[in-house]
C-alpha cells in the first residue's frame, strides 16, 4: 500500500493551488491524481482570455493560467500521476485508483483534498422533447472538440443557456466560421458574466432571447432544426411565440453540477443547494481530514476565486497534518435567507479563522440597489450596499474575525434587503 500525507484528487486549478500551498506550508509527502492526460483540468480547453486578474493582476488565457501553476508544482517536486482514475475513497481516507502504468493502487492518506471539479448538465436532465439526433453537444464538449482536438461541431448553431461557456462558445464558433443563430435563455436574466454578453454576443450581433426555451428538436439522424418559444412566469411555453431555426447544431450551456460521487462515497454530507459537500471555514468536509475546494464544492464563475479558496484548503490541510487545526466542532452555521440561494462555508469554527472569515454566496435573482444584511442570530453584524446583484455573479463577503468572536450564536444569516 502506498502512503502519503496528502492525496489531492484532481489536477485542475483547485488541486494544483491546494497542493502547492500545502507544500509551501510544510507538507512534504503529497500526491496529486489527475484523470486526464495532462494537468490543468478544464482550463486547458478554455483558450479565451480573462483569467488571472485577481491572482496575477493580468489577463491570461486558461492554458497560460494553468501553466503557471503546473510549472510551480513541478519546480517544487510535488508528485503527481496523470491518466489516473480514482475509483473510490473511503471514510478512513483510503484512495483506490488505477492507471495503465501502476495498475490498481491502494493509497493510504492522512488527509485528502477533493478537487474533482464539476460536469455539465445534459439534455437528458432537462428533457427537451423531440428526437435524439447527433449535433446536440454540451458547450464544454464542443469546446474540447474545437480547441483541443481541432474539429468543428457544426455550421449553423443555436445555443440553449447563456452560461459563460455558452457565451464563450458563441464567439469561438463564429470566429471559426460557423453561424450562431441565437442564444436562448430560460430565465429573465443571463447566467453568464455581463462582459461575456458584450464581447461574445453583442460584438457579433448574435441575438439573446431571454425567457425563451427550446421546445422541439428535429432530425432523425443529424439535427435538422429546433423550435424555440417564449415562456410564461411558470416557465411554460406560450403558444404562438414559436420561432423555428434550421440548424445542424444545438449547444447546451444549462448549468454545471459539482461532481461528488467520490465525496458521497466517503460519507461526506452533501448540501443540496450547492450539490457540493458541506464544508467549514477550513474547507474540511463533514468527514475529518477530507477537505474540498473549487468547483467540487460550489460552481465558481472566476478561476481566481477557485485558486484563493483552494489555497485556503491547502493551508488548512497543512495545519491538519501538523495537528494545528482545532477540531472543536461546536461553531456556528451559515444560512442564506431572503434572496440568498446558498452560502459557503456552511459551518464555521471561529478558532480556525485567522483574521477574516470569507463567505461566498449567490443570490437567487437580479437585484439593483439593495444591501446584504449579515446577522449573528438576531443581531446585525454588518450591512453591505450593493448596486447590482445577479445569480451569475458570485458574491464574496469578508467579515473581520473580531465581529464574530466572543459571541454566542448558532446561525450566521445573510439576506438581501431593499436599501433604506
Amino acid at each position: 500500500m502506498l502512503k502519503y500525507d496528502v492525496v489531492v484528487i484532481g489536477g485542475g486549478p483547485a488541486g494544483l493551488a491546494a497542493a502547492i500551498e500545502a507544500k509551501n506550508d510544510g507538507v512534504d509527502n503529497i500526491l496529486v491524481i489527475e484523470r486526464d492526460k495532462e494537468l490543468g483540468g478544464i482550463l486547458q480547453q478554455c483558450i479565451h482570455n480573462g483569467f488571472g486578474l485577481h491572482v496575477f493582476k493580468e489577463e491570461l488565457t486558461g492554458p497560460e493560467y494553468a501553466e503557471r501553476f503546473i510549472e510551480e508544482l513541478k519546480s517544487m517536486n510535488i508528485e503527481y500521476k496523470i491518466n489516473t482514475m480514482v475509483l473510490s475513497l473511503t471514510e478512513d481516507k483510503t484512495v483506490h485508483a488505477i492507471n495503465p502504468k501502476d495498475g490498481y493502487m491502494t493509497i493510504q492518506a492522512r488527509a485528502v483534498i477533493l478537487a474533482m471539479g464539476c460536469r455539465e448538465r445534459t439534455a437528458g436532465a432537462i428533457n427537451i422533447p423531440g428526437t435524439r439526433p447527433s449535433g446536440v453537444f454540451t458547450a464544454g464538449t464542443a469546446q474540447r472538440y474545437i480547441n483541443m482536438d481541432g474539429y468543428m461541431v457544426g455550421k449553423r448553431v443555436v445555443i440553449l443557456g447563456s452560461g459563460d461557456i455558452g457565451l464563450i462558445m458563441a464567439r469561438r464558433l463564429t470566429l471559426e466560421g460557423a453561424k450562431v443563430l441565437a442564444v436562448v435563455e430560460l430565465m429573465p436574466f443571463s447566467g453568464g458574466l455581463t462582459r461575456n454578453i458584450v464581447q461574445c454576443l453583442d460584438d457579433y450581433n448574435i441575438p439573446l432571447y431571454l425567457n425563451h426555451t427550446v421546445i422541439n428538436v428535429k432530425g432523425n439522424h443529424r439535427l435538422e432544426g429546433v423550435t424555440i418559444a417564449k415562456v410564461d412566469d411558470k416557465k411554460r411555453p406560450i403558444p404562438g411565440t414559436e420561432i423555428d431555426y434550421d440548424c445542424d447544431t444545438l449547444l447546451l450551456s444549462i448549468g454545471l453540477i459539482p461532481e461528488n460521487e467520490l465525496t458521497a462515497g466517503a460519507g461526506a454530507e452533501i448540501d443540496l443547494r450547492t450539490s457540493g459537500p458541506v464544508v467549514n471555514e477550513s474547507m474540511e468536509t463533514t468527514v475529518e481530514g477530507v477537505f474540498a475546494c473549487g468547483n467540487v464544492v460550489h460552481v465558481h464563475d472566476l478561476v481566481d476565486f477557485v485558486t484563493e479558496e483552494s489555497k485556503r484548503a491547502g493551508r488548512s490541510v497543512a495545519k491538519y497534518i501538523k495537528n494545528q487545526l482545532s477540531n472543536n466542532r461546536t461553531g456556528f452555521e451559515t444560512k442564506g435567507l431572503e434572496g440568498v440561494s446558498y452560502i459557503v462555508p456552511q459551518k464555521v469554527n471561529i478558532d480556525n479563522v485567522d483574521k477574516n472569515l470569507e463567505l461566498f454566496l449567490r443570490v437567487s435573482k437580479v437585484y439593483n440597489h439593495v444591501k446584504l444584511v449579515i446577522k449573528a442570530d438576531q443581531e446585525t453584524v454588518k450591512e453591505i450596499k450593493k448596486r447590482h446583484l445577479a445569480p451569475g455573479e458570485m458574491e464574496h463577503i469578508i467579515l473581520a474575525k473580531a465581529l464574530l468572536e466572543d459571541k454566542n450564536f448558532k446561525n450566521l444569516t445573510v439576506e438581501v434587503k431593499e436599501e433604506d
Binding site: 486578474l53 488565457t61 497560460e64 481541432g150 455581463t194
Partner: protein, 119 residues
C-alpha cells in the same frame, strides 16, 4: 449632448457605464476603476479586442496550439486576422509566449502561443 450606455469588459465585474459626449470630451459615470474610463473612450473611438484562437501544430502532444494576440487589436480586423491564423502550422516544441506571427496586419500586435507544447 450625446448619451450612451456601455458595459465595461476590462474585467469580469462588468461595470455599467454611462458615457456623455460633451464639448469638453467624454464624461464617464458608473466605473469602479480607472480602466472603465479608458475602456469607454477606446470603445467609442476605436474599439479593440484581444483575439484568442488556435493554430495547427505538428509533432506535439496535441494537434492544436492555443494562441492569442499580445495586446488588443482593432475590432474590425478580427476576421481578417483569423484568416491569417487559419493558415499557420508550427512545429513542437513550443513555449508559452513564443511569438508565432509578428505585427499582424500592420497593427504592431504579435500573435503568441498561449501554452507550451512538448514534442
Amino acid at each position: 449632448m450625446d448619451k450612451q450606455e456601455l458595459t465595461c469588459i476590462s474585467c469580469p465585474i462588468g461595470c455599467h457605464l454611462e458615457v456623455t459626449n460633451t464639448e469638453q470630451g467624454y464624461v464617464i459615470r458608473g466605473n469602479q476603476c480607472k480602466r472603465g474610463e479608458t475602456y469607454a473612450i477606446s470603445e467609442l473611438t476605436s474599439p479593440t479586442r484581444v483575439l484568442t484562437s488556435t493554430i495547427g501544430v505538428k509533432g506535439g502532444f496535441l494537434n492544436r496550439l492555443p494562441v492569442r494576440t499580445n495586446s488588443p487589436i482593432p475590432k474590425d480586423k478580427l476576421f481578417a486576422v483569423m484568416e491569417i491564423i487559419n493558415t499557420v502550422i508550427v512545429n513542437a516544441p513550443i513555449k508559452a509566449g513564443d511569438i508565432i506571427l509578428k505585427n499582424l496586419l500592420g497593427t504592431g500586435v504579435d500573435l503568441i502561443a498561449s501554452r507550451s507544447i512538448s514534442e
